[in-house]
């Protein structure tokens, strides 16, 4: 059956706004959906066929910008700006916002607004990227999984056009953040221009610049977004274990802990969203928390919120249970 998407995505944030997908949103959606995987295929083929083998310069640049943007998104966009889970000096705040803006995940305040809305409606109608809204009984569907992973960036109702200040008024009032937010396009371009420039200079050729653009630009985005970070919206709401009886489908997925800087302890996060620390017990790797500990020791951040407390107890299960494997039968 075809779901009534008007009901599935109640647009409480844009009561007065005519619903229309803006051309620029669709252009960005198309680029970020298709260009990075295509670049990955092209880059791999060029490498294997020996036509254009990436050198250490491309690989190091790619990893360096990848780590920068991952730290910016997870510790900045997410833990600092969306959840206010610690206090940062201006230098750290601006640095994280700038670094996250290289990731091709949208402008910082928009990102935080989407995320706050996700927590408000987690896996209920209104959630911008839940996979459970395409089935009348709110069961898993593959269509929903694709929507949660990447499809939502194509949905005018998910990316919204109006009412976002309601979710992030505090962020819009921060002049530094607003500047970075409104200059997002320049940061995004820098994420492509920088690796191209580095490789172009290192190899002294236009082909070198192209190789830098391919690996440090598009393939980097494929590795961060498509392959790892976007799994937070899809995988960690579909597969894995729930340690807490949160009213959503969030799960803990240990396998993704390192590559998401600890965000794959996503059930922990939904149980205690204002905590800056995602690890709730020994052995749960949370690289983001390690970086925060270093910054805290250097007095660059403070008021780091910890996970335990009465709020957590409220949602703690009496007995842990494993989430049943998602039902795949009724898709389409």
């Amino acid at each position: 059956m075809t779901p009534d998407t008007d009901n599935l995505f109640p647009d409480d944030t844009a009561d007065a706004t005519p619903e229309r997908a803006r051309g620029v949103d669709l252009v960005f959606a198309a680029i970020v959906t298709f260009a990075p995987p295509a670049a990955f295929v092209l880059g791999t083929w060029l490498w294997i066929s020996g036509r254009a083998v990436p050198s250490a310069v491309e690989i190091v640049t790619m990893i360096a910008i990848h780590v920068c943007s991952l730290v910016g998104v997870e510790l900045g966009f997410h833990r600092l700006f969306s959840h206010r889970s610690y206090t940062a000096t201006r230098l750290v705040k601006v640095g994280l916002a700038a670094m996250g803006s290289l990731a091709f995940q949208g402008p910082v305040i928009w990102w935080a607004s989407i995320h706050r809305k996700h927590h408000r409606y987690a896996d209920q109608p209104g959630d911008p990227h839940s996979m459970y809204l395409f089935d009348p009984d709110r069961r898993f569907t593959w269509r929903g999984a694709i929507h949660a992973h990447i499809g939502w960036v194509w949905s005018a109702r998910s990316v919204g056009r109006g009412g976002f200040a309601r979710y992030a008024k505090d962020l819009y009032r921060d002049a530094d953040l607003l500047w970075i937010h409104t200059h997002y396009f320049a940061f995004m371009i820098a994420g492509f221009a920088l690796p191209a420039l580095i490789s172009g200079v290192a190899h002294g050729s236009l082909q070198g610049a192209g190789l830098g653009l391919l690996w440090g630009g598009f393939i980097r985005i494929f590795l961060m977004n498509h392959l790892t970070y976007w799994c937070i919206n899809s995988v960690t709401h579909g597969w894995g274990r729930q340690d807490y009886a949160t009213p959503d489908h969030s799960t803990n997925v240990p396998l993704l802990a390192l590559v998401t800087l600890g965000q794959s302890w996503h059930n922990n996060h939904h149980a205690s969203p204002t905590s800056a620390i995602m690890s709730h017990r020994k052995g749960q790797l949370d690289p983001g928390a390690w970086i925060l500990a270093l910054l805290e020791r250097g007095k660059l951040i403070s008021n780091v919120r910890r996970p335990y407390g009465p709020a957590l107890e409220r949602v703690r299960r009496e007995q842990r249970r494993n989430v049943a494997p998602p039902h795949h039968g009724d898709d389409h």
């Binding site: 009561d15 007065a16 706004t17 402008p107 200040a165 309601r166 819009y172 607003l178 409104t182």
Partner: protein
């Protein structure tokens, strides 16, 4: 000096026209007591309107202004209070 200051009504009218043009909605459909953001005014346009207001009123205004005062009414009242507009409805109004 007051010749360079628009009246409160003129300022409200200017803002209404400006917002309507940015969000491409008929100005008759825009309410002055609803957050401008609700009509889909994006942040680049919001900062741009702050800049245009600075020009119009010949004073430095922060880019965050439209988020401090999110409705046209709130913003107009603030500008009148801060002395940027006259608060009256004189015959001579800014022709911006």
């Amino acid at each position: 000096m007051s010749n360079t200051q628009p009246s409160k009504d003129a300022l409200r009218d200017w803002l209404l026209t400006c917002v309507a043009a940015k969000v491409k909605i008929d100005r008759d459909k825009i309410r002055t007591d609803v957050s401008m953001d609700e009509y889909g005014l994006d942040s680049v346009s919001a900062v741009s309107i702050s800049g245009e207001l600075s020009e119009l009123l010949n004073r430095d205004l922060p880019g965050t202004l439209l988020y401090e005062y999110s409705t046209i009414d709130e913003l107009t009242d603030h500008l009148v209070r801060s002395g940027a507009a006259t608060g009256q409805s004189p015959a001579s109004e800014a022709s911006a």
